[in-house]
């Protein structure tokens, strides 16, 4: 089956917003008869949509009818006669108003993006880094997973050669954190393999991975992976900044 996605209306709110806007209505006083009819017309044309999409449109239509029926009924008698009493707004009205704000925010964003595109920086000149590196943001979860599998395989190999000692082990994250910090402190970069102690231990393994991820998240380290090569290197960011400074000063 060939399904066409209509770019114009992204969901029921978008349609409703369009109709309200087109008919120059205030969303707080939606003239429901008109809106409902147009809304329904549109729905009928969309009959071939999938169930989920159609039902979301129908929910909004039901809300419109609910609003309408409420406006037809007199207000319930108030216990304390308050002149400023206002009928509580229907959820849909609140939702629609929020949507309207986002619409105008979108327009703003579009404008500043267009403007930003019109400013040009200096092109990069001078020596280009010949080491192709991929920075933290580009290492995906899958790369880390591959890495983990690779490490496990290594560990297995070592396990096979020796006697395996079973022991209940407690892992302390602060301890591992300190150990990693100590190892990477003196150098700019450290290979991931250097961080794992021998004999290899699965629990330490997992804990070290978790601590590394946390450190990367806090911006203490960057994880770098040479393209082609599968080894992840840990970059000490404080050190990197210092070296960059020196480089710039030269």
């Amino acid at each position: 089956m060939y399904s066409v996605k209509l770019e114009i209306f992204e969901g029921p709110l978008d349609l409703l917003f369009y109709l309200v806007d087109k008919n120059q209505l205030d969303i707080t006083e939606i003239s429901l008869a008109l809106i409902c009819r147009e809304y329904e017309d549109y729905l009928i044309n969309l009959r071939k949509l999938n169930l989920e999409v159609e039902s979301s449109f129908l929910t909004v239509l039901a809300s419109l009818l609910e609003i309408k029926s409420k406006t037809l009924l007199p207000d319930p008698p108030q216990e304390n006669e308050d002149e400023n009493y206002q009928r509580p707004e229907h959820e849909l009205v609140i939702q629609l108003r929020e949507y309207q704000r986002i619409k105008s925010a979108t327009k703003e964003l579009e404008e500043i993006a267009d403007k930003a595109m019109l400013s040009f920086p200096r092109p990069e000149t001078g020596p280009v880094d010949d080491e192709p590196v991929v920075f933290t943001s580009q290492i995906t979860t899958f790369d880390l997973m591959d890495m983990y599998i690779c490490m496990m395989r290594r560990m297995k190999k070592q396990e096979e050669t020796g006697v395996i000692e079973m022991q209940a082990e407690k892992v302390s994250f602060p301890l591992i954190f300190r150990r990693i910090t100590k190892k990477i402190k003196a150098r700019l970069s450290t290979s991931l393999f250097e961080l794992f102690e021998s004999p290899p231990n699965r629990i330490h393994f997992i804990a070290t991975f978790l601590v590394l991820l946390e450190m990367a998240r806090r911006g203490k380290i960057s994880l770098v992976q040479d393209q082609g090569d599968e080894i992840i290197t840990i970059i000490n960011r404080r050190r990197a900044r210092r070296e960059k400074k020196l480089e710039m000063a030269v």
Binding site: T28, Q95, E108, R122, G126
Partner: protein
């Protein structure tokens, strides 16, 4: 010549030479000037260049020289710089929701937009415009999304506080008193 005047000239020169954006800290490290002095000079430079063919602009916390947008038709032929970000209306709208309401969960975005946003979210993550900020402390621990540094760069913003206020600039819609 006063100290400020000298410092300003030095910083101007470095900004001109650098192909990369420089933070106040970068400039302070290189020149040995106090960050407060650097920041003062940068502020001056931003003003000085306002009406020129080149602007000094802060983007995502770092300063660089850029050509003025109003001369774009003439200079773009010379630029080899490609930015190439094209976003669909739906993606832009979702991005707007995230930018203005961050940190925000997927469910909350869908509530505002009234449609499923799964596909758009992963696209925006792929484009590095948004990122996962953490998880909300509530049942289900839903993932919270926020905008990234690349978002600021793409939109030429210095920080999120530079986002235009949609309530203030909303002159096309007659806004009623009942704002939320």
């Amino acid at each position: 010549m006063s100290d400020e005047f000298i410092a300003k000239r030095i910083i101007e020169g470095i900004l001109f030479l650098s192909a990369n954006p420089l933070t106040i800290k970068d400039l302070s490290d290189v020149t040995g000037f106090k960050p407060s002095l650097v920041s003062y000079c940068l502020k001056e430079l931003v003003e000085d260049y306002e009406a020129r063919g080149i602007q000094v602009k802060a983007i995502a916390g770092a300063y660089r020289m850029l050509t003025n947008p109003d001369i774009a038709p003439y200079v773009e032929k010379f630029s080899t710089y490609t930015r190439g970000v094209t976003l669909s209306r739906a993606a832009l709208e979702t991005l707007a929701v995230i930018a203005y309401r961050q940190p925000i969960t997927r469910g909350e975005i869908e509530e505002i937009r009234g449609v499923n946003v799964d596909g758009i979210i992963s696209k925006l993550i792929d484009m590095r415009l948004i990122r996962i900020e953490g998880r909300a402390i509530r049942p289900g621990r839903p993932v919270l999304f926020g905008t990234s540094n690349d978002f600021l760069k793409t939109f030429g913003l210095n920080s999120l506080s530079n986002l235009p206020d949609p309530d203030k600039t909303e002159n096309n819609q007659e806004s009623k008193e009942g704002r939320l």
